[in-house]
């Protein structure tokens, strides 16, 4: 490494690479970190341009201490991805203050690559990959620019040269990616990813779901092994909300219940879910799930699947569900009490209404039908933009606003059930899904978020009642767009109206799904399946290792051949080419032609060393000299030379 000051152009290369590496982090970095980094970079460029002196050690140490303290204070410590990324960015900025030599530039490139890696810890979608690849390329180009001696690099040359090398590297990288054994488990702590992800949460207040439903982002994709269940069965069970404080429903704190037995009816549906990261532990499955990967998740007493690890990256799981079932026919007293609990001093109107309707109905079933009929026949409206509710939310909704989204209806219905003495709870989740014809899978979006009720009926156990279906039956059968009138801010409504855009959207989603399947979720399991498909009986990591080695050697041979071809000597003369083939064959016998040796001198040496080759070598040499140096070369002579060389096998 040459420790000479490097010029403006090299600095510009390094700064471009760093900027590209930092850019994806700007959204989650604290503004002061970004401003500081920008200010330092700008100052450094000016300093290079004007020839200012770089700050001394004292000043640099001061800034370093201040910046580190700033991070500890504003990120509350070191731990976590956000603090780590901010620290890397500040390290780069501080390094920039003392960047003079090639060594300093190299450190910056290394920090840049770590920032690229950190981007993938935040997100692994195609756009992130499409951004990071050129950023890594730029950083490599900056490394090339600083490692060259002499004059400043010409414009785009380092970028082009690095690109040519990356092109050769891609097959090797592919071999490594496919065959490198994936190790399960963590070497150190699980990733802590504290960013907020939109999605269902473990509690539900009025208005939560309508806010979520404006989001058209993909929640998960489902590929069914067999036929698709009809829309009315597409209830994706999420968190079960048992606690009610009069305004907000939330998950039961205590989880120490036995899981009541389930009797599964009919045929199972099996499918694979690819869940986008949620940052939470809930997994979604079709109601009611029977089989799931036990190593990955467990089922709680209210039949909700919980992942053992927070879902910080795309996860995939297979599950089997029955849409017809009898769950929890026996209800323990404790569980019954828990599902009848209501805050004593809240929503007095609804409490009284529920109790009265139950008495009038005479049976639980009739009571349910009466409440649904009330929603259907009285002036209740289904809307994405419900008015805000007072503290006694159910009273306010039932007797005052009467406009609500699914969460309002589920909340009011469940509260009335409990008031009438019927054990009931709210289930949050998703309902429906867009069929992707192109890819053959179901897309479930945040806009499919839904809430419904589960009531316990003697002899039937926990039974799903969807009060929204009473108000807006289209919601369940045909989705949000069909259920809501014009003017409601239904996400993707315009998209759905244009067949072309909708199809294009499905195509794009399919590409994303493939990306998830093949790249993001490529795992030990896929490796195993791949090896089985190419004929390994019981593949293990040793086979992978062998294939990895063979692939690498083949890839390197390819690179070597490619380079040899690029470095091949320049000849346009076919006779010279033939002659070279001849000398190459002799070289393999240990008779190498020295660059200063004339063909005749070389011939003399060949004859001396291998008299047996004399006649053939003599003919070739003379014919070659004739072709090269005599006027008017003859096509027949050339053909003869080629023939002689082809037949020359020493």
């Amino acid at each position: 490494m040459r420790d000479l000051p490097l010029g403006m152009r090299r600095l510009a290369w390094t700064l471009c690479g760093l900027a590209a590496a930092v850019a994806p982090h700007v959204a989650h970095l604290k503004p002061w970190v970004v401003s500081l980094a920008l200010a330092v970079a700008g100052w450094r460029l000016l300093a290079e341009h004007r020839g200012w002196r770089l700050p001394g050690r004292m000043l640099r140490s001061g800034v370093a201490v201040a910046a580190t303290a700033g991070i500890v204070l504003s990120y509350r410590g070191w731990a976590g991805l956000d603090a780590g990324t901010a620290l890397l960015v500040l390290m780069a900025a501080l390094k920039l203050l003392e960047t003079r030599t090639a060594r300093d530039h190299v450190v910056l490139a290394f920090i840049g690559w770590f920032l690229c890696l950190a981007t993938f810890l935040y997100r692994q979608d195609m756009i992130a990959a499409a951004w990071v690849l050129p950023a890594a390329w730029l950083l490599a180009a900056s490394l090339l620019a600083v490692s060259r001696s002499g004059d400043e690099p010409r414009r785009l040359r380092p970028f082009r040269q690095t690109g040519a090398m990356l092109l050769k590297a891609v097959p090797l990288a592919l071999v490594l990616f496919v065959f490198f054994p994936r190790v399960a488990g963590h070497f150190w702590g699980a990733p802590s990813n504290e960013r907020a992800v939109t999605g269902l949460s473990e509690e539900m207040s009025p208005g939560d779901l309508s806010e979520l439903s404006i989001n058209d982002a993909v929640a998960f994709r489902v590929r069914f092994d067999g036929a698709l269940p009809p829309p009315r069965d597409r209830y994706w069970r999420g968190p079960v909300l048992t606690e009610f404080d009069g305004f907000t429903w939330s998950r039961a704190r205590a989880q120490a219940y036995f899981k009541p037995a389930v009797e599964y009816l009919g045929d199972p549906l099996t499918y694979t879910v690819t869940l986008e990261p949620t940052g939470q532990r809930m997994l979604f499955a079709l109601d009611l799930v029977r089989d799931w990967p036990e190593s990955m998740a467990q089922q709680s007493w209210d039949y909700q699947l919980w992942s053992l690890q927070p879902v910080d990256a795309v996860v995939q799981y297979r599950a089997g569900s029955h849409t017809r079932y009898r769950a929890g026919v026996e209800l323990s007293a404790a569980l019954s009490n828990r599902n009848l609990q209501l805050p004593a001093d809240r929503n007095p109107g609804a409490r009284a209404l529920g109790a009265r309707m139950r008495t009038e109905a005479g049976s639980d079933e009739a009571f349910i039908q009466a409440v649904l009929a009330m929603f259907r026949e009285q002036e209740f409206y289904y809307t994405l933009t419900p008015p805000r509710l007072e503290r006694d939310s159910v009273d306010d909704f039932l007797f005052n606003t009467r406009r609500g989204f699914c969460g309002h209806f589920a909340s009011a219905f469940t509260m009335l059930m409990r008031a009438g003495g019927v054990p009931a709870r709210v289930v949050a989740g998703y309902q429906g899904g867009d069929w992707n014809r192109v890819g053959g899978y179901l897309i479930v979006r945040q806009s499919h978020a839904h809430a419904w009720s589960e009531v316990w009926l003697a002899g039937r156990g926990w039974t799903r009642i969807d009060p929204t279906a009473a108000v807006a039956p289209e919601r369940v059968e045909r989705g949000l767009d069909a259920a809501l009138p014009e003017g409601e801010p239904v996400p993707g409504r315009l998209l759905r109206r244009s067949e072309f855009l909708w199809e294009a959207g499905l195509l794009w989603d399919n590409v994303n799904a493939r990306w998830n399947d093949w790249i993001v979720r490529f795992s030990a399991e896929q490796q195993e399946r791949m090896l089985e498909s190419i004929g390994f009986e019981r593949p293990d990591w040793r086979h992978l290792g062998t294939l990895l080695g063979v692939g690498l050697i083949a890839g390197l041979a390819l690179v070597s051949a490619w380079l040899a071809w690029q470095f091949r000597p320049r000849t346009s003369d076919p006779a010279a080419r033939s002659y070279r083939r001849f000398t190459a064959r002799l070289a393999r016998q240990g008779l190498e032609r020295a660059p200063h040796e004339t063909p005749r001198d070389f011939l003399a040496r060949v004859v001396a060393a291998r008299p047996d080759l004399g006649p053939q070598a003599g003919d070739i040499t003379e014919l070659y000299l004739q072709l090269r140096y005599w006027p008017g070369p003859d096509a027949r002579d050339l053909a003869r030379l080629r023939g002689l060389v082809a037949g020359f096998r020493p």
């Binding site: 490494m1 090639a102 190299v106 290394f110 690559w113 770590f114 690229c116 890696l117 993938f120 810890l121 692994q124 992130a128 990959a129 990071v132 690849l133 890594a136 490599a140 490394l143 090339l144 490692s147 060259r148 001696s149 690095t162 090398m165 990356l166 050769k168 590297a169 891609v170 097959p171 090797l172 990288a173 490594l176 990616f177 490198f180 994936r182 190790v183 399960a184 963590h186 070497f187 150190w188 990733p191 990256a313 790249i519 993001v520 979720r521 890839g555 390197l556 690179v559 070597s560 380079l563 040899a564 690029q566 470095f567 091949r568 000597p569 320049r570 190498e592 020295a594 660059p595 200063h596």
Partner: protein, 323 residues
């Protein structure tokens, strides 16, 4: 450190035995190119390992992909580095004699038969100094090895390394050459020397002192004679290069004699002689040199200077010094 030196010595001797001395032009083929990661390459490897562990820990496939892409890039760079030397033809291209204490300059010529330029070829001198240059595609270039000298005589370049760290500086590929070329080292002219003794019979020897005043005849051209004095007309007529000689009216030319130097050890006396030669040549005068068993007749010019200094360097055959 001592162990390291010993190992290095053993390796050097092994390479020398394996390759033998290099005569004429040498093709750097695969078998004589060595390659190892540089310090930077090792750090880069450590970085890749950290990235690999991180990606595996977080089961992050894109992180793995990035790590593998960089690793593959390093592997390609290794091949490119090796290829940057392979097939290059190296030949000796003369040496420049220094005075003892200065650097001897050994020149090596590089011929690149390939279609891509050979970038940043380094030639390392025995004391670690490096000369870097590129060889254009299907072209040639020259680079120098500098060898510090200690004493007069000859210096032998027994070994030198042609290396490259292009691209990225992650790897260093090198080839060892054993050119076994000698370069004469002139004695360093004495810092202070008495004036040379005047030529005997100053007036009577007018003719032997060749100056530039009166034309005195033609003589054969020797390399080093001033091109201004070449008889171009005669050359056009006959073909042989002749140089015009003039008889000057200046002081007679001196004959520098070892016996005329002040008493002292041989090296000091040779240094005095070197001083006289250099000074006389600097003034544009003619001079001769007499050593025991050798006499160089009086003549002016660069060739004469070199002849005399070479005689001083070789006197008493001091034997080669190894660079």
């Amino acid at each position: 450190m001592k162990l390291l030196e010993t190992i290095r010595g053993i390796l050097r001797r092994w390479i020398r035995r394996r390759q033998g001395p290099d005569e004429g032009a040498v093709v750097l083929h695969r078998r004589r190119i060595y390659i190892l990661p540089t310090q930077l390459g090792v750090v880069f490897g450590a970085m890749l390992f950290a990235m690999l562990l991180g990606s595996l820990n977080y089961a992050n496939n894109l992180g793995l992909a990035l790590t593998f892409l960089l690793a593959a890039l390093a592997l390609v760079a290794m091949h490119a580095c090796h290829r940057n030397l392979q097939g290059l033809v190296v030949h000796g291209a003369g040496a420049e004699s220094p005075f003892a204490g200065q650097d001897a300059v050994f020149r090596l010529g590089f011929v690149n038969p390939g279609r891509l330029p050979r970038i940043d070829i380094e030639l390392r001198s025995p004391d670690g100094r490096e000369h870097v240059g590129s060889v254009p595609a299907s072209g040639d270039a020259r680079l120098a090895v500098l060898a510090p000298t200690r004493r007069r005589g000859t210096i032998r370049l027994g070994r030198c390394e042609v290396a490259t760290r292009y691209p990225f500086g992650l790897f260093r590929a090198w080839a060892v050459l054993h050119p076994d070329t000698d370069c004469r080292v002139y004695p360093r002219p004495a810092a202070r020397a008495p004036a040379p003794p005047a030529a005997p019979g100053a007036e009577g020897q007018r003719d032997t002192r060749r100056g530039q005043e009166d034309f005195a005849g033609l003589k054969d051209y020797h390399p080093g004679d001033s091109p201004r004095r070449i008889a171009w007309k005669a050359h056009a007529r006959g073909g042989e290069l002749l140089v015009k000689e003039f008889a000057g009216a200046a002081a007679p030319a001196p004959m520098f004699d070892l016996d005329a130097t002040p008493d002292g050890d041989l090296e000091a006396r040779l240094a005095v002689l070197a001083r006289w030669v250099v000074d006389a040549h600097g003034r544009g005068e003619a001079f001769g040199l007499r050593l025991p068993g050798l006499e160089i007749p009086v003549e002016p010019g660069e060739a004469q200077r070199r002849r005399c200094l070479a005689a001083l360097a070789d006197f008493g055959s001091p034997g080669p010094d190894h660079a």
